[in-house]
């Protein structure tokens, strides 16, 4: 098996004396859809915030492509190929849909101040290339017709896809998706399902936090189950579904859904 591209080793963090995460480890490989599930408050988003550099863990390490990147700031992690989306949407609402994705190309652009101020031909060429690439990505997520609309005018489900397009613009090796299907209807969820599978097929390691068990069971290669900030179980969808502890702590409510997905 190939070496993991993204890895957490014994990560822990406390907030005001409350142990939000304790000794959590996981490893995901290129082309894999690695899902993290668990009840609300299990620490899924906290784990994302540590891996993406927004929080500094009290203990443990984060490794990206084998290198220790613990608590590296997010923009440096992005430069090393790690991008994410947010549970509670972080869209540039005053920019157009296209411009949102163009911002995602930031790392792949020459950012010299003087050429920008003088509007040298190289800057114009680059703007054109960035715009073209952003349009391709909008087409990929099915938003090409909305390119010139203000992002604030898009419905919720479309904004979820816009965030994915923006993250893909950075050409990440690791993509963390925080509840991409939350608040989406069945059709939109199916669309996101298709997107995630395609992204993983292109060799990106997708780490997914999601409550929609049908979606998780269908597309995941590995699942990590968290409960009260600790690992409850880890394995393939079949293994996790069969784990009595997981069923008791979490899947109970979703058992019907999960069974349906396996059928």
């Amino acid at each position: 098996m190939s070496t993991p591209i993204i890895e957490a080793r014994g990560v822990g963090i406390s907030f005001g004396g409350v142990r939000a995460l304790d000794d959590v480890s996981f490893a995901a490989r290129a082309g894999e859809v690695f899902s993290i599930i668990g009840p609300n408050g299990a620490g899924k988003t906290t784990l994302f915030n540590i891996v993406s550099g927004l929080y500094r863990p009290d203990s443990g390490k984060v490794l990206l492509a084998g290198e220790d990147v613990t608590a590296l700031p997010p923009h440096l992690l992005a430069a090393r190929g790690l991008c994410r989306t947010f549970q509670n949407l972080q869209i540039f609402l005053r920019m157009t849909v296209l411009e949102n994705v163009m911002v995602g190309r930031h790392l792949h652009e020459e950012r010299g101040l003087i050429p920008a101020l003088l509007r040298l031909p190289s800057v114009l060429r680059q703007n054109r290339a960035t715009r073209a690439r952003a349009r391709e990505l909008l087409a990929f997520v099915g938003l090409e017709k909305r390119a010139d609309d203000p992002a604030g005018a898009l419905p919720y489900g479309a904004l979820k896809r816009l965030e994915i397009a923006r993250a893909l613009a950075a050409e990440p090796k690791v993509l963390l998706l925080d509840e991409p299907a939350a608040g989406c209807n069945a059709v939109e969820t199916e669309e996101i399902d298709r997107l995630i599978v395609t992204i993983a097929e292109r060799g990106v390691a997708v780490v997914l936090v999601e409550h929609d068990m049908k979606l998780v069971m269908r597309i995941s290669t590995h699942i990590l189950v968290l409960n009260h900030g600790r690992i409850l179980a880890e394995g393939t969808p079949a293994e996790v579904r069969a784990n009595p502890e997981v069923v008791a702590a979490y899947l109970g409510r979703h058992a019907a859904e999960a069974a349906h997905a396996s059928g």
Partner: protein, 313 residues
């Protein structure tokens, strides 16, 4: 769409710039127009910081004051040429912004506003109290600008010079907007966390635009000093900082053309309103309130929204 807004801004400004000397009846009017260009230069710079990047500065007149006093103090105390002194003022202003910006740009919203307010007051205090150096509250003379033997004088000459410098400032600002850094600044305005995970060095981007805005203000200050041939600490006082912010806000945050329109309104109106004698400030205040009620995005974006969509945008 941004490209056409860019052309509209340049065309409208060029048209006004070329036409005004034909329309304005006296050198007094040309002097007022010159003041508009100077204030607009500072406002265009501040708009990059406030309108584009969403970072408030309530002490921007401090940088303006550094530029204004540079052209007075450089020749007097160091024997420097006024032009060289202006250059030194820009460098000093930029360095101060670089030094102070690093710690204070970590602050957000009201906290940043108060920190920049303190910076502005500090500059004003020095200019006001170091009487031996700066002449104190009475102000200080500025020597005449001589460019390669040409003694720069006359209302019309200054109109063209300040307008040309503003044109350059507008062009650079518009270029910045349509560049990776410009997009990064607009992005961090809306969501810093999303900007960071997109790979944007938020701290550095803010610092760059803060230094740029400081240099714009200092250049405007130097032009004012050279044009008026006299400066007082008022150029750096709190009221002037507030005026600059007001210009950006009523013109339309994020709109370069708006910054010019805002500067024009706040410079011309007090002159025009002198017919109201003692009530001129009350009328000015009332008009600002009405602008904000009826064009809450600011004058330029507000009016642009009324036009058919593709025409301006």
């Amino acid at each position: 769409m941004r490209v056409s807004a860019r052309h509209a801004t340049l065309l409208l400004f060029l048209a006004a710039f070329a036409a005004l000397p034909l329309l304005l009846p006296s050198s007094f009017h040309l002097r007022v127009a010159t003041l508009v260009w100077i204030q607009a230069l500072a406002a265009v710079g501040l708009n990059l910081l406030m309108g584009l990047a969403g970072q408030v500065s309530l002490g921007h007149a401090g940088f303006f004051g550094i530029g204004a006093y540079a052209v007075a103090l450089g020749p007097r105390h160091l024997g420097l040429d006024p032009l060289l002194s202006a250059l030194a003022g820009l460098v000093l202003s930029g360095l101060l912004a670089l030094l102070v910006g690093r710690p204070i740009l970590r602050l957000r919203g009201h906290y940043l506003a108060v920190a920049t307010l303190g910076l502005g007051i500090l500059v004003w205090l020095v200019l006001n109290s170091e009487v031996a150096l700066t002449g104190g509250p009475d102000g200080i003379q500025v020597p005449r600008l001589v460019l390669f033997g040409w003694r720069v004088a006359g209302a019309e000459t200054w109109y063209w010079i300040t307008g040309a410098v503003l044109l350059l400032g507008v062009w650079l600002a518009l270029n910045l907007e349509d560049s990776p850094l410009g997009r990064a600044l607009r992005a961090l305005h809306d969501s810093e966390v999303a900007a960071r995970v997109a790979g944007i060095d938020v701290a550095r981007s803010k610092l760059v635009v803060f230094v740029m805005a400081a240099i714009y203000a200092a250049l405007a200050g130097s032009l004012l000093g050279l044009f008026n041939r006299f400066v007082t600490p008022q150029v750096a006082d709190f009221l002037h900082s507030i005026e600059l912010v007001t210009m950006v806000v009523i013109g339309g945050m994020g709109s370069t053309l708006g910054a010019i329109v805002g500067a024009a309104i706040l410079t011309v109106l007090p002159q025009a309103l002198t017919v109201f004698h003692d009530y001129e400030h009350a009328v000015l205040g009332l008009m600002i309130i009405l602008f904000m009620i009826f064009l809450r995005q600011g004058i330029v974006p507000g009016l642009a929204a009324l036009l058919p969509r593709r025409a301006v945008a």
